[in-house]
């Protein structure tokens, strides 16, 4: 079967069972859009900015576990993807991005809308390709999908010169990857697993520190079974939220800079830390020298480069977390360290997350209310900042893939387009976008995409009139000098939404919020609730930068 380049792309996407792609057409990618118009069996969602397309593909991938796909044209279209690629790269999210490129004879001449996008995105993609021969196209796409989802997932970019898109060749889609030498490092090490089981047996105060790897590898059932057998308390990272049900008595919830005091204290007192699919990020460990220096570390990760990168570990196991955990369950004996379990229960009771419960519409109340109203069955997509931490703390995550956030890169503007992608991937679920009034304005144009496509996302804006997290740091560490954090001039978001043809309300108190939320839950359609929260509400507890993680301020506030 002879096909031209663009038909090959569409045929490959069809064969990869791609359901939806997000993108914006432009000069150099017009041939591909023509083929999509004629031959695609997937839906194309036209976003209003390429960054929105990238984050939407990312949100779709996070919510479904499938590969997200986005398309942009050459030059500015391609550079607008960069933040989103970096975002997906730091959180190990499988995405394939296609970009148009000027025709191959023009490459290197500074042609109109030409940029070296493979050069630019080299450090923020797992791999990228500039396809210079149409005969390589199908195999490259095959390899890109395989790379994006296998091993430690990540974004892959394919740059398509305009003439390659239009060149013709015999179509052949191999079942085998072109790059067979790429190793996925999934070799299990039985000896290490036995060693780990032995250390677990001996431990008096073990803690499980679980991260995004639990979600990526789909190991939450195995983690549950492991905890049932061993009664070891679990704390998760921001990326690991939902990997272990937070309503379980042994859940310590999130650890780290804005984690619970009981999680940070427990891990600091632990004699054994079982690190599962984590990377010892600085938001978790604080200064690494102080991080649980007396404990023994077991570290399971699929990426060998994460082993002993930030913290030296004693028992490393490299491979797929799901299979390793299943094996580990077989080797451990049932275990119940009653003294330690009592200590955990005591910590949880004595130092719960606390905020002022008064008449004011406080963000913590909003998130708690949302949890209760949805019974933990919603998908929470956040932007970045204070509201992100409140959402992490006060909504209790029970299911994997129910919390979607920009963890590693901390990309403001991620929330709305990611919620769009998540909702398209999970039509049967209610998706809630929690955003601040700052970050929301960084990709506010995607309201047109969301409302225009009748995507029933519920947006809750925690509106405090500030770039809140920066303001909090200015208050605490810069003697209250609020340098450029006041967001004066922001619009009434309810009115903005109405102009786009959606429903929006602004609420000032608890009663109005509860009413608006109930209405939004009853109606399966888009709604924005602009919540006017106390302007100087802070996120507590908090580890003071440079201090060990059990030295927190705002405990028992």
């Amino acid at each position: 079967m002879k096909l031209i380049g663009t038909e090959i792309v569409v045929e490959c996407l069809n064969r990869e069972k791609v359901e939806v792609v997000f993108g914006i057409p432009g000069g150099a990618i017009m041939p591909l859009y023509d083929a999509i118009y004629q031959k695609a069996s997937f839906t194309h969602i036209l976003t209003k900015h390429e960054q929105g397309a990238m984050h939407a593909a990312d949100g779709y991938a996070r919510a479904t576990g499938k590969v997200g796909v986005c398309i942009a044209t050459s030059g500015p279209g391609a550079t607008n993807l960069v933040t989103g690629l970096a975002n997906a790269y730091l959180d190990s999210i499988p995405v394939v991005a296609f970009t148009g490129q000027v025709a191959s004879p023009l490459i290197g001449t500074d042609a109109f809308q030409e940029v070296d996008i493979t050069g630019i995105t080299m450090p923020v993609t797992k791999n990228n390709y500039l396809v210079m021969n149409v005969n390589d196209l199908a195999a490259t796409i095959k390899e890109a999908f395989s790379l994006a989802k296998n091993g430690r997932p990540g974004p892959v970019l394919i740059d398509l010169p305009k003439d390659i898109q239009q060149a013709q060749t015999e179509f052949y889609y191999s079942e085998k990857d072109k790059n067979s030498s790429y190793s996925f490092s999934s070799k299990r090490n039985l000896n290490q697993i036995k060693k780990a089981a032995n250390a677990i047996q001996k431990a008096k105060r073990p803690v499980i520190y679980a991260g995004g790897g639990i979600i990526t590898s789909g190991a939450s059932q195995e983690l549950w079974d492991f905890v049932q057998k061993t009664n070891i308390p679990v704390t998760t990272t921001l990326m690991g939220l939902g990997g272990f049900p937070e309503n379980h008595p042994l859940s310590l919830e999130m650890l780290g800079m804005h984690g619970t005091y009981y999680a940070n204290t427990a891990i600091n007192e632990a004699d054994l830390i079982i690190a599962l699919g984590v990377r010892f990020d600085d938001r978790v460990t604080g200064t690494t020298g102080n991080f649980c220096s007396d404990a023994t570390f077991i570290h399971v990760d699929i990426d060998p480069a994460e082993i002993s990168k930030n913290v030296k570990v004693d028992i490393p196991i490299v491979g797929n977390l799901k299979t390793i955990l299943a094996k580990l369950i077989q080797f451990v004996e049932p275990k119940q360290e009653q003294e330690w379990m009592d200590r955990i229960a005591h910590l949880k009771e004595k130092y719960p997350l606390q905020y002022v419960e008064d008449d004011l519409l406080r963000p913590q109340f909003i998130l708690k209310q949302l949890y209760e109203s949805t019974e933990g069955e919603g998908i929470i997509v956040t932007d970045v900042g204070q509201h992100q931490m409140w959402a992490a703390q006060y909504y209790k995550y029970i299911h994997p893939r129910s919390f979607i956030t920009s963890g590693g890169l901390g990309t403001m503007g991620f929330g709305l387009p990611a919620a769009l992608g998540a909702q398209i991937g999970c039509l049967e679920k209610r998706v809630f976008c929690i955003a601040g009034d700052g970050g929301f304005q960084m990709n506010i144009q995607e309201l047109a995409t969301v409302i225009g496509n009748k995507i029933p996302v519920v947006v809750l804006i925690m509106n405090n009139g500030y770039l809140g997290m920066v303001r909090q740091w200015q208050e605490l560490f810069f003697e209250g000098r609020y340098s450029s954090t006041n967001l004066e001039g922001s619009p009434d978001f309810a009115q903005v939404v109405q102009a786009y043809g959606g429903k929006g309300v602004r609420v000032f108190n608890k009663n109005d919020f509860t009413r608006a939320l109930n209405e939004a839950l009853e109606e399966k359609r888009f709604c924005l609730i602009d919540c006017m929260i106390p302007p100087e509400e802070n996120v507590f507890p908090m580890v003071v930068p440079g201090e060990p993680i059990n030295k927190m301020i705002g405990v028992n506030c």
Binding site: M122, P123, N127, L130, M132, P304, A305, S308, K312
Partner: protein
């Protein structure tokens, strides 16, 4: 501590940039870098001399291994491998006596004179980095006009090869 890391890569366009970019963004040091064809068609052999403790070396090997175009990465310890560098050294010569003296020294270092004029001699020398450094130090007295060095290349001793 210095380490010699050999990286076998598919000679896809931009592969050297990928390796160099990785070293740059992770703040790994590159003391010297040499690249050329290997014994296998389509595979380029890159030799990088780098500096760092064992944990840095471990990270270098693991991170480089993650690059899709990389086929194999190996740290070649100096005591079990043969390391060589080639240098061209252009030296001032003011008199016939000086020329003779330099030529004797070149002989002693088992180098070659590859270009000669009344004002200058160009010497070719191969050896370990230490040998070349020693030779250059010796030539400094005469006045070095220009030098060019290839960077270290290395093969393990014995019959094994990196890519089996």
């Amino acid at each position: 501590m210095k380490h010699t890391v050999v990286i076998l890569v598919k000679d896809n366009p931009g592969v050297l940039a990928r390796v160099a970019s990785l070293f740059n963004r992770r703040r790994f040091n590159i003391d010297s870098i040499a690249a050329g064809h290997s014994e296998t068609k389509g595979i380029t052999r890159i030799t990088i001399v780098t500096e760092g403790d064992d944990s840095v070396l471990e990270q270098i090997v693991k991170q480089v291994n993650k690059l899709v175009d990389v086929v194999r990465v190996k740290d070649l310890p100096g005591d079990t491998s043969v390391e060589r560098e080639l240098a061209l050294i252009k030296v001032n010569t003011e008199s016939a006596e000086q020329r003779t003296e330099i030529m004797q020294l070149v002989e002693a270092f088992r180098g070659h004179i590859v270009d000669i004029t009344r004002q200058a001699l160009t010497i070719e020398i191969t050896g370990t980095q230490e040998k070349i450094n020693a030779k250059m130090k010796l030539m400094e007295g005469f006045g070095i006009i220009e030098i060019a060095r290839t960077g270290i290349i290395s093969l393990s001793r014995g019959a094994q090869k990196i890519l089996s």
